[in-house]
């Protein structure tokens, strides 16, 4: 979906968000290059899902754990919170039901790393404004009639969706079209205009733990359960 150089950059940023020795699920893992990188650098235990037979085959042939299949159907097979991180790199815009997928990511993993091309980038805005045609860029190189990307959204759209879904944005990194990296949250410039690609580290809001109240005060003050 993207050129090699920016994908590598994407991977390095993803790697920087992950703790060593984690359990990771990489959705749309291709031939498993990111899996190899993370296995090597982070000593992590990684599983992948890949839809394309030939790519899945090449990954499996490297001795990686890859399930050939469609993540939108197959994510349900993983147990709740069975991974520390679930990675969805450059794929959300190609999913049939992005909201459902986001929910699944954070059911299966305690954190999700999602990266996507920002449709709100100034180049895209300008192209649409000036030419009146669907924009074609390095990050979104396909014509409208043959693109695998079926849901276009901007940085702002994504942030709003996270808010609606009670998803916490722990970190967000933007990349300009020149590959310059900056923190979206702390950005001085309007990030929705300058971010060409975005990478988010997500988790669910930490709800207050439910405290057990007892009507007859059976639980003493120093009970571990009450506190």
């Amino acid at each position: 979906m993207n050129n090699i150089k920016s994908i590598r950059k994407d991977w390095d940023l993803i790697e920087s968000l992950i703790k060593e020795k984690s359990r990771i699920l990489d959705i749309g893992c291709g031939k498993g290059e990111l899996i190899e990188q993370l296995e090597k650098n982070l000593n992590a235990n990684i599983h992948g899902i890949e839809k394309n037979q030939d790519m899945a085959l090449q990954g499996i042939a490297k001795g990686l754990n890859i399930t050939h299949g469609d993540a939108e159907k197959d994510l349900s097979q993983y147990a709740n919170q069975s991974f520390d991180y679930v990675i969805l790199s450059q794929t959300l815009q190609a999913m049939m039901e992005p909201q459902k997928i986001l929910k699944e990511l954070l059911r299966v993993g305690s954190k999700a790393i999602v990266s996507f091309p920002n449709f709100g980038h100034w180049k895209i805005r300008l192209q649409l404004l000036l030419t009146g045609k669907m924009p074609i860029t390095e990050g979104l190189p396909h014509s409208w009639y043959e693109t695998p990307n079926i849901h276009f959204f901007t940085l702002k759209d994504f942030e709003n969706l996270c808010k609606d879904m009670n998803i916490v944005i722990e970190k967000s990194i933007g990349l300009t079209n020149k590959g310059k990296q900056f923190s979206i949250q702390k950005s001085f410039f309007p990030s929705n205009i300058f971010t060409s690609e975005a990478i988010f580290l997500l988790s669910y809001k930490n709800f207050e733990p439910i405290k057990i109240k007892s009507t007859n005060n059976v639980f003493a003050k120093n009970s571990a359960i009450v506190n």
């Binding site: 085959l57 042939a61 490297k62 990686l64 097979q77 147990a79 069975s82």
Partner: protein, 385 residues
């Protein structure tokens, strides 16, 4: 005390291991004191004994996985997969393949003589299961002094055995390759087997299984059983591609019941040639063993129960898009449970129109994935030593 003796059988061009006082308790409760397994090995066992691969054959397979089969005079059933520089490379791996218990290529089965008796087992052979077949195999691996197999590989009934190994002897294996199998034999599969068995048992030459005393063979029944089964191994697309409605050695239809069509002639040939190499009773017993195979309820619980014992196992599950005997859906049931329990599992569905038999045919993606899986995991596992 259990004892064994290994002899080279020149006629069968393989080794035969005879177990005495083996006390092999079958699932049915029957106690098999003495039994033999005919087996072949290829390549050589390395110093640390870490490179052994057990290949489990399918319903009508045998120990002649590679090289020449002396019974048929043809190449072994997986010669294209197993051998020097083949996907399962015998320059690197030590390959063992044994004829299953109940088979008819030299292992103890209905065709063989009962101990201290001049009669053959025939219909008196005890009912066997996939678990029994694996229990019998384990004793061979013990005898070869191999603590841990690098892999157990099999398609169809062989896949059932590979799965059974991972359930019953997780510590004895490092990986399995399970091709075109399932957690259970489906109702449809049992149905096809039943038709095949009825064809054999309704052949007047069957004599309740004791046809060898009568000096007959229920060859008509057995060949019909093979013809039916053969249809289930193909796919409609492949059959159409290969035969269509083409006529056999004629330009016009005969208005009779000759083999007008090529597909008829092909099936008749398959039936005829099968009779020459396979025992009808073995066919009954082994189809039954497959029918009884069912881990659909217990698999998950078993894996949870032996959780720590199988975390090291690398599972590779492979299915074929056009396989309607062991469809992708059923192979995926295994993958789903393994993934749910966070095991080391890989799964590939290979797009082909060749049906269930794909695993025996020229399928380059199958070769590639198996070679890659075995060799890369072998490297990884041996780095750990």
């Amino acid at each position: 005390m259990s004892n064994f003796k290994i002899i080279k059988n020149k006629k069968l061009d393989c080794s035969v291991i005879d177990f005495t006082n083996a006390d092999l308790k079958l699932e049915s409760g029957y106690l098999l004191d003495n039994y033999s397994l005919a087996y072949k090995t290829f390549g050589s066992l390395n110093h640390n004994k870490t490179n052994a691969i057990l290949i489990c054959h399918a319903l009508t397979g045998d120990q002649y996985v590679s090289g020449q089969n002396p019974i048929t005079g043809r190449d072994g059933w997986w010669s294209r997969m197993v051998g020097p520089n083949k996907p399962i490379d015998t320059n690197k791996f030590f390959v063992i393949c044994s004829n299953v218990l109940g088979g008819c290529a030299g292992s103890t089965g209905p065709k063989e003589k009962i101990d201290n008796d001049k009669n053959t087992y025939g219909g008196k052979f005890p009912s066997i299961t996939i678990k029994d077949i694996v229990n019998a195999q384990v004793k061979l691996i013990d005898a070869l002094e191999i603590d841990q197999l690098f892999s157990v590989v099999g398609g169809s009934m062989g896949a059932m055995q590979a799965l059974q190994w991972s359930i019953d002897f997780p510590k004895r294996i490092k990986s399995i390759i399970h091709i075109a199998g399932a957690l259970k034999h489906s109702a449809q599969n049992i149905a096809f087997h039943e038709v095949g068995r009825q064809a054999i048992m309704n052949d007047p030459n069957w004599h309740k299984g004791n046809y060898s005393n009568q000096k007959t063979i229920p060859e008509r029944g057995l060949s019909v059983a093979r013809m039916i089964a053969h249809i289930t191994y193909l796919s409609e697309d492949a059959m159409h591609r290969k035969f269509g409605r083409k006529l056999q050695s004629r330009d016009i239809i005969s208005f009779g019941f000759d083999a007008d069509f090529q597909i008829e002639s092909y099936l008749r040939y398959q039936g005829r040639s099968f009779v020459e190499r396979f025992d009808a009773n073995s066919y009954l017993y082994l189809t039954r063993a497959m029918d009884y195979f069912d881990h659909s309820e217990s698999y998950r619980k078993t894996l949870e129960f032996i959780n720590d014992l199988n975390n090291h196992i690398n599972y590779l599950i492979i299915s074929f898009t056009s396989d309607w005997l062991f469809p992708t859906r059923e192979n995926k049931e295994i993958v789903q449970i393994l993934n749910n329990l966070s095991k080391n599992v890989s799964f590939l569905e290979i797009d082909t129109d060749k049906g269930h038999d794909s695993f025996l045919l020229d399928e380059p993606d199958l070769d590639k994935v198996m070679k890659g899986f075995l060799e890369s995991n072998f490297r990884k596992k041996n780095e750990q030593y």
